[in-house]
């Protein structure tokens, strides 16, 4: 019998071996695949298992965490949620993260390896770092001014520091409270459905994700191209432009909202926004040079992230001359985000350079130790410095005695350009009112702020006046907020 007992023992040993091999298979060989299965909730539980780090504006946290005691334990709270929603985005247990909450998630959730003191230590110890902090470049006063200026209207504001590319304000209205999406209960699902179904799209970040026809504000780009290309050598010389201007190769006649555009100088045309002059200049500059200049300002850049993705602004180069003429006055396929137009204003203010716009000043550990800092980068040189100087003059004229007088600020040099963009079938929609500008305090060596404002449902019906009337006061409020700092 002994022999058979030994066989039985061998059989039991075989069973044991099978268990050990199988356990190794699951826990070692296939562990990663199981871990990454989307139905495995462990990652989400771990993510919300500790308070998220905070997003700071002006040294003050605009986010917080609340212990819900649920499985996804810490819920995100927001201070002034609607005001900062276009920056923070949301961090929802159910719907994931967006904007800064998404782009800086590793730091905020504590999973970023850079947060740990020793590399690989957390992998070994299976420890988690407390959530780090994200310090934004925002100027709280500018943000508030922009939000208050837009009020109940649909629109957006983007403001930059021209010399660095720091984003000072990023506002989109109507907004929403991202705190409504924190947690897992049915109210969250209802809020999600309501926000997504709303006609005025409160979750759309109009400052960076919506492109608008830039209208007359694009004339800054066209003027830069004309000056750089030598099409215009003297801003005060007549441009030999007809009024009305017949689009090349078609019978369509382009007209102006103002008088005196026939054969006007660049200075006059810029000041009063003559469509005919700029359409002609665009055609004279030519497709390729126009495209190059537009690209220098940041158009057609699909890779821009601040750190979250910015929708590319477009200047279509596959156009005939008639379309080029329309493109050059910011119509046809030319589309821009408010952030892009703020970059245009900033380039003029800062001697023709476009700095990489960024929203994150630095990230730190929970204790405030530096994790990473965003440096200043010159993204492109949009135009010659001499051209920038001339454009500064032209833009200053607009505010001093042109369509942008509403943006003037005592004690500061302000340059601006208004715009009205027609849209809809046969331009039936209410025109978008634009205003882009920059401001430099008289006692300062550098311009402090460049801003772009778009108001979707501008009340006025008469051309560029709506840009100067509706959008310029908002731009002025933002610039004042920054200058008063």
């Amino acid at each position: 019998m002994t022999r058979y007992i030994r066989h039985a023992a061998a059989f039991c040993a075989l069973l044991l071996l099978a268990l050990l091999v199988n356990a190794t298979r699951i826990q070692l060989v296939q562990a990663r695949a199981y871990d990454e299965n989307p139905a495995n909730r462990r990652h989400t539980i771990a993510r919300y298992g500790q308070p998220r780090g905070d997003i700071l504006v002006g040294g003050r946290a605009v986010t917080g965490s609340r212990d819900s005691g649920e499985q996804f334990r810490y819920e995100r709270t927001y201070r002034d949620g609607p005001l900062y929603a276009p920056v923070t985005g949301f961090a929802s247990q159910v719907y994931g993260t967006s904007l800064l909450e998404g782009a800086a998630d590793g730091v905020l959730a504590g999973t970023d390896p850079a947060l740990s003191l020793l590399p690989l230590w957390n992998d070994l110890a299976r420890a988690r770092n407390p959530g780090g902090q994200v310090v934004t470049t925002l100027d709280a006063a500018a943000q508030r001014a922009a939000y208050a200026g837009l009020g109940a209207r649909r629109g957006a504001v983007a403001a930059l520091e021209p010399s660095t590319g720091r984003i000072l304000a990023l506002v989109s209205t109507p907004s929403y409270d991202p705190g409504e999406l924190s947690g897992t209960d049915s109210a969250v699902a209802r809020a999600w459905a309501r926000l997504n179904g709303a006609a005025d799209k409160p979750m759309l970040n109009r400052a960076i994700r919506q492109t608008y026809p830039p209208g007359s504000t694009f004339k800054v780009v066209t003027a830069a191209a004309a000056l750089d290309a030598g099409v215009v050598r003297d801003p005060d010389a007549p441009t030999e432009s007809p009024d009305p201007y017949r689009l090349p190769g078609s019978s369509t006649r382009l007209t102006n909202e103002v008088e005196g555009c026939a054969d006007a100088s660049l200075r006059y045309a810029f000041q009063w926004s003559c469509n005919t002059v700029f359409a002609g200049l665009g055609v004279a500059v030519g497709r390729d040079a126009m495209r190059t200049t537009a690209a220098g300002f940041g158009f057609n850049d699909r890779g821009l992230g601040i750190p979250f993705r910015v929708s590319p602004s477009t200047f279509d180069a596959r156009v005939d001359r008639a379309q080029l003429a329309l493109s050059s006055i910011g119509q046809y396929n030319t589309r821009a985000t408010p952030l892009q137009m703020a970059m245009v204003a900033a380039a003029v203010a800062d001697q023709g350079s476009v700095r990489t716009p960024h929203l994150v000043e630095r990230t730190t550990t929970a204790d405030g130790d530096l994790v990473s800092a965003t440096g200043q980068h010159t993204l492109h040189r949009a135009m010659n410095p001499a051209t920038a100087v001339r454009l500064r003059e032209l833009m200053t004229d607009v505010v001093e005695k042109g369509t942008g007088t509403n943006a003037a600020i005592p004690g500061a040099t302000v340059g601006g350009k208004s715009g009205t963009a027609q849209h809809g079938i046969h331009n039936s929609g209410t025109p978008y009112a634009w205003f882009i500008s920059w401001a430099q305090a008289d006692d300062s060596m550098t311009p402090a702020v460049a801003v772009a404002v778009v108001v979707e449902d501008a009340a006025a019906d008469r051309g560029d006046i709506s840009g100067g009337g509706d959008a310029a006061p908002i731009a002025r409020a933002v610039m004042e907020a920054v200058l008063d700092r």
């Binding site: 356990a23 699951i26 299965n37 495995n40 299976r126």
Partner: protein, 464 residues
Amino acid sequence: MLSPGTTAQADPPAPVVRLPRRRGIEFTLLVVAVLLSVYGYCGVGLARTGAVPPGAAGYGAGLGVLALLAHLAVRLRAPCADPLLLPIAVLLNGLGLVLIYRLDLETPADRAAPTQLVWSTLGVGLFIAVVVLLRDHRVLQRYTYVSVVTALALLVLPIFFPSVNGARIWIRIAGFSIQPGEFAKVMLALFFAGYLAANRNALAYTGRRVWLLQLPTGRVLGPILAVWLLSVGVLVLERDLGTSLLFFGLFVILLYVATGRTGWIAVGLLLAACGAFAVGWLEPHVHSRVEDWLHPFASIEAGRGPNQLAQSLFAFAAGGILGTGLGAGHSILIGFAVKSDFILATAGEELGLAGLSAIFILYGLLVERGIRAGLVLRDPFGRLLAVGLASIVALQVFVIAGGVTGLIPLTGMAMPFLAQGGSSVVTNWIIVALLMRLSDSARGRSEEEQQASGAKQRGAEVAP
């Protein structure tokens, strides 16, 4: 017995060769087992609240007293018993209590650890009773037929009670639920061992030869086959698949050990394969289990979220090599049965592959020690009983561990000592008590034999 002065010659009496009894080793290992359990208990508290849980001292004292009482009983009544069996049982039971306590923290409304502690105490009490009252395992052979009647009665009993979660294996008395099938395991092992020990020659050598197979006479094979078929039939009726698999394995192993006929295994496996296939195909409950085993993520792909097996696999995978640490895992996601059938997933997640392997090896040692007792014993009943009891442990571990790790289709069964379940923990303590008795007989017997042969030798020397 040899006593000085009985021989004419003045030879100094040869010292009786005493085998080391190793009770000291057992005591030391018990201390280690209790300390490890308390360490785990504290670890859960430290991971969850950052403080040693308030019950740690009480828990350690309770487990320590149980271990000490069991140890004293062994010292008094089974001094030659294997020194590993008791510490392994205490460690596994202690670890099981820690795991259940840990899972209780996630389900404050449903605390199972205190109940489990009561059952464990009862189990240790029965362990002591068996060790103290059962002086010689051969007595049990008298109860071969009583055992089988009791086993069948226990198996049939739950049919008269309402089914719980699809299986009709519980009876409820005064708020306590008992699984009679658990106790039936021991009874059936007793019956198989007793019957096969009495009839092994007839089974092995009589009967007609049909082709390659020597069939025993129906008179000998009939009763045992009937008992086995009856029990499996009842279990299928009650949908207790794990236990039917266990009984089948036990029957085949013991039949093989008793007769040494490989042919029986082949026939058994063939029959079982046919039966399993038929049941797996036709019975919807079993069929779904097989489907889950083949496609553990089908429910995820169908958008219904992970099923229990998928959650269990996630838990094991999350553990990796070293585990998340006690109290730091999320095996509670498995939901229902996380404290019973799926307790191993918690061990796998929080102790990792290292801890899981250690647990498997503890079971392996338990089985090995039981089989070793069977090897040393001389009487066929004792040998078969030891192998049978050890096989029960091995098969239980394989069936449930293989099920929750996706090695074989999942069938409900309790992980010995670890899982929540009073009947199970009590039964396994009885199994360990019987193995203690058997190993004591094995080593004590050889001690007696040695003394006897020593006397014989001396007798030869005195002879002219």
